[in-house]
Amino acid sequence: MTGFRYLPATDEDRKAMLDEIGIADEDELYTDVPEKIRFHGTLNVEKALSEPELIRLLSGLALKNRTTEQYPSFLGAGVYDHYIPSVVDSVISRGEFYTAYTPYQAEVSQGELQAIFEFQTLICELTGMDAANSSMYDGSTALAEAALLSAGSTRRKKIIVSETVHPQYREVLHTYAEGRKLKVVTIPSADGVTDVTRLNREIDADTACVIVQYPNFYGQIERLRDIEEAVHQHKGVKFVVSSDPLALGILTPPGAFDADIVVGDCQPLGITESFGGPHCGYFAVKKNLIHKIPGRLVGETVDEQGQRGYVLTLQAREQHIRRDKATSNICSNQALNALASSVAMVAFGKQGIRELAAQNIQKAHYAAGQLRQKGFTVLYEDSFFNEFVIDLGQSASSVNEKLMRQGFIGGFDLGRRVPEMAGRMLIAVTEMRTKDEIDQFVHALEVIVDAR
């Protein structure tokens, strides 16, 4: 094994540097580290590998995983197998983008700043909102931050969330809410959507916000109009909608239903599944909340010669200025994933975003129709996007094991989350699934369930 290829210092360099510093022994640099806490010996870290050995090891680990590339996947529940144009990876592989950091020095960061400005615009277009930030960690933390923003701006303590919001998102919401001593109230669902009657009963003068998902966790299109009416009957209550951005290529955007905050995850647009991350939360608001939005914002301005340029702006909201009074503690975000999503959105363009969304809706309904024909119960109404629930009458996890043996990654076992949903499977069908794959999957399911 040779020297370390990331370390340029030669012994001669080190000697010359020590001479310049004026010490003979490098250890003199460490006299401020008390003997008692110095680490002697070798860290219990796995040994160094050469590049070919490293690739062999990691390729071996990668090969132990069954991928959605090898097996047609019907698994969604917040992360989806979608078409990603090849240009996306090409763009985000450019060192000028991925080896830079937050664009603090605007003059040499115009590329990143402009790309974010374009991302903010694309998110506004999709959601029907006035402003969007440069990204959040993911959809779950974006949702939690929306609750914190609502509580902070209304000075109220009660957060109402629908049971049809992604269960992991709700778990994250609970963790965030506990820190700020907020009370989270969960509204049950009726027929796969938020129970608006129960919601009406729960909203009161102490309510900071109402959070729903659109399409919701079961794939259903929540009736935002009815929910919005209930929410805004009470003065000041914020209406928060979490949305799969791809669905907004065909669905009326939440902004058109007077949502105050729209959040979600850009993974469906240009971001690989990557075992759940890094993905990219988005966060969009109406005008009156711009000064409260968490995270970085890019704004347009001019330079001394009057030429157009972009800067990080409204920084008085942020931790490096406001410290403990900041809107949020977020610092690093998901800029590279936001770039990936931007490139995908630009590649799709006006026509593609709609076609992509339309193919999802068509294929999912085709799959549901085929399953119904085979005698499966498809729950709830037909107003779903690319996911729906079927009742298997037996453990969805054990059905999934059998599906794997037939070469399919099955849907999400809802019983894993909610005991009363045992036997039910959430099936996602994206544009990536061909008719043949869907037909074979339906057939495999039929055989497995009949053979019980």
């Binding site: 690739i55 069954r66 960690y137 963790t175 965030y176 506990e178 704004g299 330079d303």
Partner: protein, 487 residues
């Protein structure tokens, strides 16, 4: 060929009818969506996305990349951010389909390789930090800070020790420390630094009391100085009943040399995008694992990655005292793959050499600049140092001006005006991946700028002169926010 002065927005390049994607024709029978979705919920107006061809798209983003500066372009001594080289093999392995085409909710048996990698990474990070247990769920440093503080809160809560509402933070701390404390539900108390730039022990004794939940402290601290009294600091906080939190922003200085776990720290977060070559992505994604000592382990977020007795890997969700989930799924897995690849490239000896070279580079550069710039702290630094532009300020040249002038010489400037306690601060972190020649050239250029401050201040004050835009009007951007393109 220099980058163009102006690059039109992608929206301004749009022509109706162009596309840059390709999908197969729909192969299932098409039904009017109105049969399923009520008309109110079907979008009437299309999102106004740009319409460009694939080559136009590529040219646009290539043009933008030419207007951006990363570590691959040149020296990027941005203090506290550890802008080291981002190995290419890391990018290659993170893109293996076995890692990027797996779904987080797949059956555990079908993702054994991913779980094994995470488990191995966890174990290595525990060894590097001297901690007993680790979560890889937090997505970035600040997210890790908040997670660590929530764990400390849960620990005190489980003991019914509910008076502990305060977190002590040094006046040199990064802004995320007080912000994270606040989001975690604590009030913050500031502890002063002494004349040597270290935590003032007397002040710490004054502020540490039975309301103290924790002290947050990087070591080396944000001045790049080793908190030599760290054991006493930990003792004071522990005696008051609080926990000691390690902000891992500066871990690059100490790998294999000393460990937070041995210094008396109870909770640690790491920035895998800094020390472990993440990369930085233009602002993220990061990854902010949190390690804890045994007594705090029950409170870690769930699920944890575990190794079963039969050698297989799995998820432990049955953790009744856990603070819960801090992020959907398992954190920024793709970044964790890169960090693991880096650790395996360096190994234990390599990681130690990383820190030793980082410290040597910083001290060398500091020495080279010490005649021309005010050095507020005389002791040896660790991986970074803070100089003061006070002499140049007296000549009418601010640190901001010098930073902007560095752009003309092809450098990304150091962190400026932080930490807050140093007048006209410039915080320089060279990292171990920069050669002596690079450091020599940088020192020479910065010294040239200090001479310019004397002889030709206008050139510095009006810098940069060579970038695609000149200094931008930030006040205008904030007063009249334009946050999106409109036709």
């Amino acid at each position: 060929m220099p980058a163009e002065k102006n690059q039109p927005l992608i929206f301004e390049q749009s022509r109706k009818g162009r596309t840059a994607y390709s999908l197969p024709a729909l192969d299932v029978p098409e039904t009017p969506v109105g049969e399923w979705i009520p008309a109110d919920y079907l979008r009437q107006d299309e999102p106004d996305f740009p319409e460009v061809s694939e080559l136009q798209l590529v040219r646009h983003y290539t043009a933008l990349s030419r207007r951006n500066f990363g570590v691959d372009n040149g020296f990027y001594p941005l203090g506290s951010c550890t802008m080291k080289y981002n190995p290419k093999v890391n990018e290659k392995v993170a893109r293996l389909s076995g890692f990027n085409a797996i779904h987080p909710l797949q059956d555990e048996q079908t993702v054994q390789g991913a779980l094994e990698l995470l488990y191995r990474l966890q174990t290595n990070l525990e060894a590097i930090t001297g901690m007993d247990a680790m979560t890889l769920q937090p997505a970035a440093g600040a997210h890790g800070e908040w997670t660590g503080l929530r764990i400390i809160k849960a620990f005190h809560g489980a003991r019914k020790d509910i008076r502990r509402t305060k977190v002590i933070i040094p006046d040199t701390a990064h802004g995320t420390n007080p912000a994270s404390a606040s989001v975690a539900g604590f009030d913050t108390v500031t502890v002063k630094s002494d004349a040597n730039g270290l935590v003032d022990l007397e002040d710490l004794k004054r502020v540490a009391d039975d309301q103290t939940a924790a002290l947050m402290l990087t070591n080396p601290n944000t001045l790049g100085l080793f908190e030599t009294h760290i054991q006493e600091i930990a003792e004071i906080v522990h005696a008051a009943g609080g926990k000691v939190y390690y902000d891992g922003a500066n871990m690059n200085a100490i790998m294999g040399l000393t460990r937070p776990g041995d210094m008396g720290y109870d909770v640690v977060h790491l920035n895998l995008h800094k020390t472990f070559t993440g990369p930085h992505g233009g602002g993220g994604p990061g990854s902010g694992p949190v390690g804890v000592k045994k007594e705090l382990a029950p409170f870690l977020p769930k699920p944890l990655i575990i190794r079963h007795p039969d050698g297989s890997y799995g998820l432990d969700d049955d953790r009744p005292q856990s603070i819960g989930r801090v992020k959907a799924f398992f954190g920024n897995f793709g970044i964790n793959v890169r960090a693991y690849a880096y650790i395996r490239t360096m190994g234990p000896e390599g990681l130690r050499q990383v820190s030793r070279d980082a410290v040597l580079n910083a001290n060398y550069l500091k020495k080279k600049l010490s005649e021309d710039f005010e050095m507020p702290f005389s002791q040896f630094c660790k991986h970074e140092f803070v100089l003061s532009g006070s002499r140049q300020k007296a000549l009418g040249v601010r640190t901001l001006d010098m930073a902007k002038r560095l752009l003309d010489f092809g450098y990304y400037p150091p962190t400026i005006y932080f930490p807050l306690i140093v007048d006209e601060a410039m915080m320089i972190e060279p990292t171990e991946t920069e050669s002596k020649e690079t450091l020599d050239a940088f020192a020479e250029h910065l010294i040239t700028i200090s001479h310019e401050a004397e002889d030709d201040p206008k050139t510095v004050q009006s810098a940069p002169h060579t970038t695609v835009v000149a200094r931008l009007d930030e006040t205008r951007a904030a007063r009249h926010p334009v946050l999106r393109f409109k036709k």
